[in-house]
Amino acid sequence: MKPPPFEYHAPATVDEVCALLGSLEDAKVLAGGQSLIPLLNFRLARPAHLVDINRVDGADRIYERDGGVAVQALARQAAVEDSELVARVCPLVVDALRLVAHRVIRNRGTVCGSIAHADPASELPAVLLALGGHVVARSTRGERTIPAAELFAGVFETALAQDELLVEAWFPASGKPSAILEESRRHGDFALAGVVRAGDRLALFGVAPTPVLADPRDPGRGLKPSGDLEATPDFRIHLVRALSEKAFAA
């Protein structure tokens, strides 16, 4: 379980990152590495180039913007979890982060990396979707904003182009009531199924190739979740209904 060979790049600015992503074939961005490096160690991912963004200065800000919270590419999950600003403006993100793996992982993992990785059972993409947030992507071609509703394209797939870097995620303020509930086998595991309530909006995760918005009155409608060792499609739908009911009972 050792990574396969790759060429390593450690650019110092976002522009350099974009230049590399724009010029290299088969390059992967290395941010927190908490999902990518296990894949390398299992040799399930074998990119030709690894573009490590950890040496980019000033890309780890967490700041208030447009009535919400903007989280830059290198802001660690633990820093966002501990941020007073985030706790004040968007406490739902803090609640969600506490369900993301374990603190030691969050010390290194990044919020933007988690969103770009787009694991269908992951919490943060569902939160972004429930809140109607967006991400900012940059490349040598310029910068664009991608709304959450257009970002998630499939299992581990996003609307980000090969040459784009996700430089910032923006979460609107989470009004009340808001909640994130999930069922996982062990504390910190990816969810078998989960729900995010943001006011009247409901987003589900773990039950489709991407996080999806659902009708709180009939959250299971139209769902065709996949089955695995720990949950059948039926069980996932059952859980989503039970969790939604609980989230909207509060």
Binding site: M1, K2, P3, P4, P5, P38, F42, R43, E183, R185, R186, H187, G188, D189, L192, L229, E230, A231, T232, D234, F235, H238, L239, A242, L243
Partner: protein, 777 residues
């Protein structure tokens, strides 16, 4: 004997170096060793049609690539460790497969390179072509025998064994009630935090092979390597250094690497190391627990069991290197603490295309306990009897020991319980459990079990008092965390009247003690503990004999206290143990350390030669203990659980253990063994399973999907003890290593069934299984 250290909560003597990061695990040993990697079969069953290692051999950084054809022992089957007359179709694998692979993970090619990264790169260059064959993956599929794992083993049956006590058919015919149950236990994995690892160095000039191996049996590894390489045993040193957990699979030998790493070191003239990674650990290391039981039970109106018949199949895996010990243990342990006047048990050990099986903590017992306890719960339900009451009515009573069960035991004897008090275990557990908490979906479960511990054949120990007065003690069996360095020191310190901190224990190093068997089957305390006692007593007697001359007192009037041999009743009259050690060795040359006292002009004159007939120099002794039979520990576990009726999440509200392992050497160490065992049991009952698909692929070969519990999943465990000393050994001890894990599946099954009112007939459970059972009911 004195009881100053024995029984005291002595804090561990081995902790400091482990806490400072100065432990020495096998992978910590570098010394420029080459590193290795296996190419393993991706198929559960296939014919190998070609192996091409050409590209790997010429890759820069690769030192050697071995296939079966490259090995002088490549065509030899690995040893069948425990032959048995009923194991008529025993089969073992070869070091490297060359014709046929029978489980995914079976080793095919061994790559040696400058480091592990390069070895893995090279392994990817090896081309092996396979022709897939039909796969037999569950024990039920093995029984159907539509396909064969071994072409020459009809019906996939490795062994069959039938035993009967009393007359089951007659008792069944007369019984007022009869009932049938089908009970199933799935495979699990021990998963020690340290995987396996082997490091070897060959000294051509000394013709000496030194091997570090994360094994539970270095003495057996040494014996096997000496035979394989034609070396005297004295030229082979095997050390199990710090071992990061064992829990059974590390008692298996020989894994292919245990031969290949030493062989490569001898061939290449450089140290060679192989360290398993977690992914290969899941398929290359032995597993356990797969069994399917068909039970028929007869009982009277009061719930007394009149007869029980069990016909079970055991998932042996692809090969039977460990013989049929597991189903033998299951068969013997099904009766447990209950009177079973008529008992018939038949098992068949079945070949499947999965990793071979050998003991994993509990070894055949969790399933046996599950069978008996589920049966009793089922009778209770049918008769509308309280689950506690039915157990009371069937328990063996405290005045019935020794109690003969009448079935065969794993040491070749028959099962005879040496001592115990099962009703008291039950009473205390219930008292500790207390009233049922208020609330919905809460269930109570309990189980009582016995555990045959401390099997032979023997262990030995060497104890020596140094001229400094410090004591060194050594035994052949290694520690994987059981605190050998502390508990053996306690036993020795008591006999020699020294401080426990003045005893330095070595375990699992054949350079220090070459003989013995291994650490398994909850046997360390009984076998090595008593061997330590025997050896220390011999040293104490020798010390008294030598000091008697000096003190002009009879040996029987002397005692060993505070590091001195002194006259009873006259504590001022004595000499330090170190001085006795000096006198034990008549020297011509004083070499320091006070040894001038033992030179010819300084020694106190006594008639005859300095070393007289029967005397041996050195204040040391080697002692052995060989048990006449197993010691039978027992316990009762009880729990309250809540199962969320919507999410089927399990919450263990309270879990109590009352345990009896005879006399307790160190309550801290024992508590740790029980707490850890229960946690492992909870893992095996609700979180962990090995999920093989129909093609024989293990679908959850990582810690992301094989769900070992974290702290957040394990509740506090409340523990109490009773002590019924074993009459079979001088220390009165019984084993405790496996105890915690044994009844957990039975307890949780009972509690979940009580909470949800759905029948629980298999282990492990999960929210998904409960959802499905609940939806169907």
């Amino acid at each position: 004997m004195t009881t100053r250290w024995f029984g005291a909560p002595v804090q561990r003597l081995e902790d400091e170096r482990l806490l400072r990061g100065k432990g020495r695990f096998t992978d910590d040993i570098g010394e420029g060793a080459l590193e290795c990697c296996f190419v393993r079969s991706p198929y559960a069953h296939a014919r190998i049609t070609s192996i091409d290692v050409g590209a790997a051999r010429v890759m820069p950084g690769v030192v050697a690539v071995y296939t079966a054809a490259d090995l002088p022992f490549g065509g030899v089957d690995l040893p069948l460790l425990i032959p048995h007359p009923n194991l008529t179709q025993g089969r073992t694998q070869r070091c490297l497969a060359s014709e046929r692979v029978r489980y995914a993970g079976e080793a095919v090619v061994f790559v040696v390179a400058e480091d592990r990264y390069l070895a893995e790169d090279a392994a990817e260059l090896v081309q092996v072509e396979y022709e897939p064959l039909p796969v037999v993956i569950t024990p039920e599929a093995a029984e159907r025998a539509e396909h064969l794992v071994h072409d020459d083993v009809p019906g996939n049956v490795a062994a069959e064994m039938l035993q009967e006590v009393g007359d089951v058919d007659a008792a069944m015919a007369k019984a007022p009630h009869r009932k049938q149950l089908r009970l199933r236990y799935e495979r699990g994995a021990a998963s020690p935090m340290e995987g396996r690892a082997v490091w070897a160095r060959w000294s051509q000039s000394e013709r000496k092979l030194t091997v570090y191996d994360s094994t539970q049996s270095p003495t057996s590894i040494r014996g096997g390597l000496a035979v394989l390489f034609g070396l005297p045993e004295s030229n082979v040193e095997v050390i199990a250094p710090d071992v990061g957990g064992g829990f059974g699979p590390k008692i298996m030998l020989f894994y292919p690497d245990e031969l290949l790493v030493p062989y490569a070191a001898m061939q290449l003239g450089r140290p060679v190391k192989w360290t398993e990674d977690r992914q290969e650990h899941f398929t290359a290391v032995n597993q356990e627990r797969g069994q399917v039981h068909e039970v028929e039970v007869a009982f009277d109106d009061e719930g007394r069991v009149l007869a029980l018949s069990d016909d079970f199949i055991h998932d042996g895996g692809a090969y039977t290197p460990y013989g049929i010990i597991l189903p033998i243990i299951s068969a013997a342990q099904i009766p447990g603490p209950y009177r079973l006047p008529n008992y018939r048990v038949r098992f068949r050990d079945m070949y499947t295309n999965a990793t071979p099986t050998s003991p994993y903590r509990g070894a055949g017992r969790p399933h046996a306990c599950f069978v008996m306890e589920r049966t009793l719960d089922s009778i209770a339900q049918e008769l509308k009897l309280d689950r506690v009451e039915i157990r009371r009515r069937n328990l063996i009573q405290a005045d019935e020991f020794p109690y003969e069960v009448g079935v065969a035991w794993q040491d070749g004897n028959t099962v005879v319980y040496d001592s115990g008090n099962y009703p008291e275990l039950l009473d205390r557990a219930l008292a500790k459990l207390g009233p049922k908490p208020e609330g919905d979906s809460i269930g109570m479960g309990l189980a009582i079990y016995v555990e045959g511990t401390g099997v032979g054949p023997y262990e030995g120990a060497h104890v020596q008092v140094l001229v400094s007065g410090k004591v060194v003690a050594a035994t052949g069996i290694p520690s994987q965390g059981q605190a050998h360095a502390t508990v053996w020191a306690q036993v020795v310190a008591d006999e020699l009247g020294v401080d426990v901190k003045d005893v330095e224990v070595s375990s699992g190093d054949t350079r220090r003690f070459p003989w013995g068997v291994g650490t398994f089957a909850s046997r360390g305390a009984v076998t090595a503990g008593n061997a330590m006692y025997v050896a220390a007593r011999m040293v104490a007697d020798k010390a008294k004999a030598i000091a008697a001359d000096q003190l002009e007192a009879a040996p029987e009037d002397l005692e060993l206290v505070d590091g001195r041999v002194r006259v009873k009743g006259a504590p001022d009259k004595g000499i330090p143990l170190g001085a006795v050690a000096v006198l034990s060795n008549p020297v011509r040359y004083a070499f320091g350390g006070g040894t001038e006292a033992a030179t010819q002009f300084a020694r106190k004159a006594r008639p005859g030669p300095p070393l007289q007939d029967g005397e041996q120099p050195g204040l040391e002794a080697t002692g052995y203990y060989s048990p006449p039979g197993s010691t039978w520990a027992a316990g009762c576990h009880a729990a309250y659980v809540r199962v969320d009726p919507k999410t089927f999440r399990l919450e263990i509200l309270k879990y109590v253990v009352v345990h009896d392992c005879g006399r307790v050497i160190n309550p801290l160490v024992l508590q740790g063994q029980i707490e850890g065992g229960v946690a492992q049991g909870i893992g095996g009952a609700f979180y962990e399973r090995l999920a093989y698909d129909a093609d024989g692929q293990l679908r959850n070969a990582s810690f992301m999907e094989f769900l070992m519990p974290y702290a957040t999943e394990i509740p506090p465990i409340e523990i109490d003890h009773i002590e019924t000393p074993s009459p079979l050994n001088p220390l009165g001890v019984k084993g405790a290593g496996e105890a915690g894990v044994i009844p957990v599946g039975a307890v949780l099954a009972s509690a979940i069934e009580d909470a949800l009112h759905v029948p629980i007939t298999e282990m492990p459970q999960s929210p998904l299984k409960l959802f499905e059972a609940f939806s169907n009911s």
